[in-house]
């Protein structure tokens, strides 16, 4: 299924969701990402990606209790699903294989 293919940004977001474990929601993901990638990004992008990930079944969401600092709204907390974990593993595997396959001399010209 085409939908399970992970985009690069999707992969990063999914990794962040996994990293934050039980506290992955819009703002948290956004802040984590912008501090790690060292560039500002908009809530919209994060949201849409999370939505997409959920549609693909890679994350699962539930609502928290409403909270005062959010103007009385609840968070939507995301946790990674089994399918999500598998997709990450798969992506990692492909990368590792690629890395392993690179001949040593390929980077020589840099020196």
């Amino acid at each position: 299924m085409k939908g399970t293919q992970l985009g690069e940004f999707e992969e990063i977001v999914l990794l962040t969701v996994a990293l934050l474990y039980d506290d992955a929601y819009g703002v948290a993901v956004l802040e984590e990402l912008s501090s790690r990638l060292e560039r500002p990004m908009s809530l919209g992008v994060v949201h849409r990606t999370l939505q997409r990930l959920e549609e693909k079944g890679l994350v699962h969401s539930r609502f928290s209790e409403p909270m005062a600092e959010r103007g009385g709204r609840s968070k939507r907390l995301f946790t990674i699903t089994l399918a999500g974990e598998k997709a990450l593993q798969e992506a990692r595997r492909i990368r590792n294989e690629l890395w392993n396959g690179i001949p040593k001399t390929a980077f020589d010209h840099l020196t």
């Binding site: 929601y25 703002v27 849409r48 609502f63 005062a68 600092e69 959010r70 009385g72 609840s74 968070k75």
Partner: protein, 891 residues
């Protein structure tokens, strides 16, 4: 989220103090799909609170809005994807999604309009014509209102004008020469005072071969600080300060010098003055009444025309010698009018003259609108234009309402189904408004295109420079948006309400009749309005046409055909005599005369008269014309008593007109013959009385006039020619003339063209009304055609039955005809008195005018009737000729 939670938490958030912008939240609530709404708002809120701490409130709010913008994406309002699993208890699906609703409206509207092509076409066409008319009138009105409003602080700039209060008040744009100085030195209310003298049609030469006829102005340096005429080159501080310098506009610089730098070039003005160009002005905008493009220092006027600037000469003024002031801010013009200007009159005149010479301020923005002070037109003309434009839009809207309500019946099934499925009135209403907006929007775009295409023609007619560009012109843009809204609501609201009000059961059964589908009587009323507007415009067109034709063709009291007028640059006796003899010797020339102004002009100076042995000067002013002994024979002015003037170079004898004799209080015209009269300070014998002739336009009554010989005043030469072989004659004139006046520019004109120019504005009004009447009638006919089509559809069966029972075709035609004839007559009853009243008001500005006879009204109703008949019969004949079997077989 359930309601209890919401309430509880809203109270929480209130405690936290600073809130994100409420409107933004509301907006998001409206467009966000319910299942992610809480999440998004919550996230935004949280971010906002953090940012308030970090960057402060303003920045946080800005960032909030930025985030909101970046959130805009179909995912925001789209329904959740399939594989999503959410707890439906926590979401709220009851709110309809406005985005989908609007797109659905648009889709339905497109289908509907596509299906009823002729209906759409009629509506779009009539609306675009109406709107195009409105756009044109709007631009025209705005153009005229914007005259001379581009000057900085234009509402503090005034022109001092003169009111001469003799027996009747005469107004002049000019003031006595010392006025400017007196105003500046005696009172401290003006920031700047600038005198300016306009001299028309001077000969400006760059080199002996390169000569131009140009208007020039002698102006105080301060005038450049009053008016906003920016310098492209040269120093505004020193411009017009030094003698023998000049400023010219970019256009003139291009015309005279091409690509050569004009600064430092020399210009010769007439024969007396040589000036150096020290500055180049930006080209004058179209919306100014100041068309002079060459400015010279006021001090140079002394060298050029010393008689215009005699010192302390308070009792004479010239309409071209004007004075502009810029009041200090806070000084009211009313105060200057009531205190300062009368004080100036009192100080510089003796007691009697102080009463006669009164001065008033005229605001700069009023210069364009006061015909008494040589303004272009009266403001009320503009309102007439605006009203006509409004009428056009109304007619187009009426069409729309008529057709839409008539068509409502067709849609009854659709409405029925919609209602049965739970549509609310509001929703149906808005659906219809969307449809209207679509039509109006398309019409607006077409109208813009039309207006854009027509503008060059209109500019040519009116001799103006309109520009239509809604992208740069914010006024026009606002107007268009406003017009779109108004048209949409005015024409969409009523049919929308009708549609929304249908009873679903009746509608589904198809039992709605014409009657219940939106008041047939209302539609009648609208048709009557439409016809009334068309007839009003037709009546206006007819009356103005008649009056203008009357003014142009009526006997002015003198001969005006086949007379060529040449200018006389100087009045040396030898030259005038030579020109006279050479011209009369030419073939095809019947008469030659020299004079200061042709028999009929827009303006004519008037002066005081003292008659015979009477001690005091008369209380009326007499118009003053000079011409040689050939003036009367050339223009074939009848002499009622006495004889024509004898040939002379100076004032010796006078001819009066009948009006003058009457004003002198004499019973018989013979009484004045042989008496002396002192006119303009020079005495002479009255040798004859001329029959009254129109020496101004038909707007003014024939006033007292005198004619005398005085060579130094002559500025033109009138030649009565034989119209055959005119071309050769004119070529001959040029040769003779240029040989005599090598340093001047040859120009000729015909007297009758001159006279036609007196009615320029009336002809413009006529053209406008003609065009708009045409549009109004056409739009009305379109509506009528549409209406009859629907009627014919509705009555298909009735016609079939009637035909089967033996009705004749003409009988069936009458079925349609009688209805519309009745409406037409009714509208005539409305339009006729209204037209009579308004046109009488217009005609009142003419002293010599046509009578509004019944013929005009008959013609108006006849025209409308014929046109209406044509559009009604087009469709009704078809309906009447249909084989009844086709219409009856359906059941």
């Amino acid at each position: 989220m359930n309601r209890r939670n919401k309430n509880q938490l809203q109270s929480h958030s209130k405690q936290s103090g600073i809130q994100p912008p409420r409107w933004a939240e509301q907006l998001l609530i409206r467009i966000t799909a319910p299942y992610i709404r809480d999440e998004i708002l919550g996230d935004l809120h949280e971010l906002f609170q953090k940012r308030v701490h970090r960057y402060g409130v303003t920045k946080a709010q800005l960032l909030y809005m930025l985030e909101m913008l970046l959130l805009l994406h179909p995912r925001l309002w789209r329904k959740p994807g399939q594989s999503i699993h959410i707890d439906t208890k926590q979401t709220d699906y009851s709110d309809p999604n406005p985005m989908t609703m609007v797109s659905n409206y648009a889709k339905i509207a497109f289908r509907k309009l596509n299906r009823h092509k002729s209906y759409t076409l009629i509506n779009v066409l009539s609306l675009s014509l109406g709107i195009a008319g409105a756009i044109l009138t709007f631009t025209l009105v705005k153009y005229h209102l914007s005259f001379d409003t581009f000057h900085a602080d234009y509402n503090r700039i005034y022109r001092i004008t003169t009111e001469l209060r003799t027996e009747k008040v005469t107004y002049s744009t000019g003031v006595p020469n010392p006025m400017g100085e007196a105003f500046k030195s005696d009172y401290d209310v003006a920031e700047k005072v600038g005198r300016i003298g306009f001299l028309k049609e001077r000969v400006v030469s760059v080199s002996p071969q390169k000569k131009f006829k140009e208007d020039v102005a002698f102006a105080d340096a301060d005038l450049l600080h009053i008016f906003n005429f920016p310098l492209l080159e040269g120093d505004p501080q020193t411009a017009l300060q030094e003698r023998n310098t000049a400023l010219i506009t970019e256009r003139i610089a291009k015309k005279y010098f091409g690509d050569i730098d004009p600064i430092g070039q020399l210009l010769r003005i007439d024969s007396s003055l040589v000036v150096t160009i020290t500055g180049v002005l930006e080209n004058l905008p179209a919306t100014t009444d100041f068309h002079t493009e060459i400015y010279l220092p006021y001090s140079n006027l002394q060298d050029h025309s010393p008689w215009l600037v005699e010192k302390d000469w308070w009792v004479g003024f010239n309409k071209e010698m004007q004075c502009f002031i810029k009041l200090k801010s806070g000084v009211s013009a009313a105060m200057v009018d009531s205190n300062i200007l009368p004080a100036i009159s009192a100080k510089y005149y003796d007691k009697e003259n102080a009463r006669i010479f009164q001065f008033k301020l005229q605001p700069l923005s009023g210069v364009h609108f006061n015909p008494k002070l040589r303004g272009y037109m009266e403001k009320k003309n503009l309102w007439t234009f605006a009203l006509i434009g409004f009428f056009l839009v109304v007619t187009a809207c009426v069409n729309f309402i008529n057709l839409a309500t008539a068509q409502a019946l067709d849609r009854s099934r659709e409405i029925g189904v919609r209602k049965a499925l739970g549509s609310q009135r509001g929703a149906l209403f808005w659906q219809f408004i969307t449809e209207t907006a679509l039509i109006a929007g398309v019409a607006l775009i077409i109208a813009l295109g039309l207006a854009y295409l027509v503008v060059p023609t209109v500019n040519q007619w009116f001799d103006i420079e309109l520009v239509i560009n809604p992208l740069t012109d914010t006024y026009l843009f606002t107007f268009l948006v406003g017009l779109l809204l108004i048209v949409t609501f005015c024409s969409g609201a009523y049919p929308g309400l009708i549609l929304a009000r249908f009873q679903p059961v009746l509608a589904l059964k198809g039992k709605l009749s014409q009657q219940s589908a939106g008041g047939f009587s209302l539609r009648r009323g609208l048709v009557v309005t439409q016809f009334a507007i068309s007839q009003l415009l037709i009546i206006g067109t007819l009356i103005i046409t008649n009056q203008v034709r009357y003014s142009e063709q009526a006997n002015m009291g003198f001969q005006k055909d086949a007379i060529v007028i040449l200018p006389i640059p100087d009045h040396q006796k030898s030259k005038i005599t030579t020109l006279g003899t050479q011209l009369s010797a030419m073939a095809g020339v019947q008469n030659v005369t020299f004079f200061d102004s042709p028999p009929a002009t827009e303006f004519l100076a008037s002066t005081g008269i003292r008659y015979a042995s009477r001690l005091k000067a008369e209380s009326f002013n007499i118009a003053y014309k000079t011409g040689d002994d050939q003036f009367v024979p050339t223009f074939k002015i009848p002499i009622l008593a006495g004889r024509n003037l004898a040939s002379s170079d100076t004032v010796r004898e006078y001819l009066l007109n009948e009006a003058a004799v009457k004003a002198l209080g004499l019973a018989f015209i013979q009484d004045v013959i042989g008496k002396t009269a002192t006119i303009n300070g020079q005495s002479g014998t009255i040798v004859g009385v001329m029959k009254n002739f129109h020496f101004k336009s038909f707007r003014t009554a024939i006033e007292p006039l005198c004619l005398t010989t005085r060579r130094e005043m002559y500025t033109s030469c009138g030649i009565k020619v034989n119209p055959t072989n005119l071309k050769a004659t004119l070529a001959g004139f040029e040769k003779v003339w240029t040989a005599l006046y090598p340093s001047s520019v040859y120009m000729y004109r015909f007297l009758d063209e001159d006279i036609d120019r007196l009615y320029k504005l009336d002809r413009m009004l006529l053209r406008l009304i003609e065009g708009f009447a045409g549009i109004a009638i056409f739009v009305g006919c379109l509506g009528l055609y549409g209406l009859v089509s629907f009627m014919a559809d509705q009555k298909k069966k009735e016609i079939g039955v009637r035909k089967v029972l033996g009705a004749s075709t003409s009988g069936i035609l009458w079925l349609f005809g009688k209805e519309f004839s009745r409406l037409l007559l009714l509208s005539f009853v409305l339009a006729a008195p209204l037209g009579w009243w308004s046109m009488n008001k217009w005609l009142a500005s003419f002293v010599y005018r046509i009578e509004i006879g019944p013929g005009i009204f008959m013609l108006a109703i006849l025209i409308t009737f014929l046109v209406a008949l044509l559009s009604v019969s087009l469709r009704s004949v078809k309906a009447a000729l249909v084989n009844p079997i086709k219409t009856l077989r359906a059941e």
